[in-house]
Amino acid sequence: MTSIELRGVSRWYGNVVAVNDVTMTIGPGVTGLLGPNGAGKTTILHMIAGFLAPSRGDVTVAGRASWRNPGMFRQVGLVPERDSVYAFLTGREFVAATARLHRLVDPDGAARRAIELLEMTDAQDRKVATYSKGMRQRIKVAAALVHDPEVVLLDEPFNGMDPRQRLHMMDVLHAEAEQGRVIVFSSHILEEVERLSGTIQVIVGGRLAASGDFRAIRRLMTNRPHLFTVRSSDDRALAAALIGRPSVNAVELTPHGLQVRASDYGTFTREVAGITRDHGIRLLQVSPADESLESVFTYLLAA
């Protein structure tokens, strides 16, 4: 069974540590590398792909070190984040050229199948220079899949895709995973990871902050105290009403509205509208004050 192993892997640039002592095993199925921008996800993907040497530790793919091992790409397909496909080639030429570089017996047939899979057949004879960002992403994925790799690495694959394209790409990756392939993708968007992967590796500040089943980690995220900004027609009366509720831990009256610390995200957001209605208060705004990924990750890291 093909797998990716990182053992005690660190990577630094001068005094800056990009990845700090990460150990993980990634097996068949879809695994999401989740983390804010600059967290080290891309650095980890590049080390797995052999485009970056670990400063310390070992990175192996199918049991062999990936650094200085281009032969690995017989089993690995890579979709880099950078939008750098040869613009002067048509989509079909690009995918077929990749198939030829892999020395496939029927490169044109393999290219045709990969292009069909990514629904790029209609645009395959146009130059890549004329493609939208989403189309370029799809043609890169077609090229990465053209040789039926055991391992597929995708760096922010959904960038520039519209919602329909995203759903289709997710279906494609799911289908690949169901055939026993190892699919690893990076993303800084929680919803993408939620839809696509059962297993996630959360990277924050170069460290592995959480690892495992997505739903378990999501529960950990949603069941934590959340901070909301609430504005209403009578903030003081609303504060008095809210503090009596079990789902609310603390309320602070500020000139810009209430800062409400809820103990349970789901219960509070369900209750707040009913409470204001019961007290004859008009609700003007409820917004999470700390819902950015960074605050979620900071919490995860501290947990």
Binding site: G71, L78, P80, R82, F88, A97, H102, V105, D148
Partner: protein, 256 residues
């Protein structure tokens, strides 16, 4: 995908050294954006100068002097433009990752790109050098043939150096380094300081041309044996270093 793909077995042909797909992509990348016009301009200029001087010049000694300096300078600058871009351009825009994310050996990538650079330099600089010599002295003249062989050899060595520079440094630095080498080291120091010619590609070209043309104006103070030996050594060392450089090609990751 559900369909299975099978691979050709390894064949021990030139494919181990040169990869046709890499060469075709390199050729199209290098010649795109109307660069052929840019490459052809110096060659047209050289042929024009030769035609003009053939008709108007009073002195009969101009061909070796002009073609030995201006002609070989065009070889150097063409190699700098072409050899410097075959790898450097793709490293800069990141497209080289698509070549390197395949099982093709890094040696094959470097040699394929280098071969394209040499062929284009021959086409845009060495052949025009011969044509200029042929206009001045006639097609079968030993000077024209000597300059052609010298320019062919110069293109081989210059491109190895500039491919190495572009694999090791950013495009700006590689270009600046190449220009310094051609204009200062070869253009200035090599003619003033004895011994510098031993590390001058232009002097190798002149010595090789002189071995055929036997023209004292092409004298580089190097024997043809030394010139050929040094040219071969510099080429091999530069290409080995370029392959090693690409073998440790790294993509900069994100830094927290």
């Amino acid at each position: 995908m559900t369909a299975t793909t099978t691979r050709e077995g390894p064949t021990r042909t030139m494919d181990g050294l040169l990869n046709g797909v890499v060469m075709r992509i390199t050729l199209r990348a290098t010649m795109s954006r109307k660069r052929a016009i840019l490459f052809a301009l110096p060659a047209i200029l050289l042929i024009g100068i030769s035609a003009l001087l053939t008709k108007t010049a009073q002195s009969p000694v101009w061909p070796p002097e002009v073609l030995g300096t201006v002609g070989l300078l065009i070889v150097a600058l063409t190699a700098l433009l072409v050899g410097g871009s075959v790898i450097g351009g793709e490293v800069e825009d990141g497209s080289i990752v698509h070549l390197l994310a395949t099982p093709v050996s890094r040696r094959s990538v470097v040699l394929s790109k280098y071969a394209v650079a040499v062929a284009l330099t021959w086409l845009f600089a060495a052949v025009p050098e011969y044509l200029a010599g042929a206009i001045a002295k006639g097609p079968g003249n030993s000077l024209a043939i000597g300059l052609l062989v010298g320019a062919l050899a110069g293109a081989v060595v210059y491109n190895a150096l500039f491919v190495l520079l572009s694999a090791a440094f950013s495009p700006g630095r590689a270009l600046a380094g190449g220009l310094l080498y051609v204009l200062v080291w070869e253009g200035l120091l090599a003619s003033l300081v004895p011994g510098v010619g031993l590390l001058s590609v232009q002097h190798y070209s002149l010595a090789i041309a002189n071995a055929i043309a036997h023209n004292s104006a092409l004298n580089a103070n190097l024997t043809s044996g030394t010139a050929i030996g040094m040219a071969a050594a510099v080429t091999v060392v530069a290409l080995v270093l370029a392959v090693n450089r690409l073998a440790v090609f790294s993509v900069k990751g994100d830094v927290a």
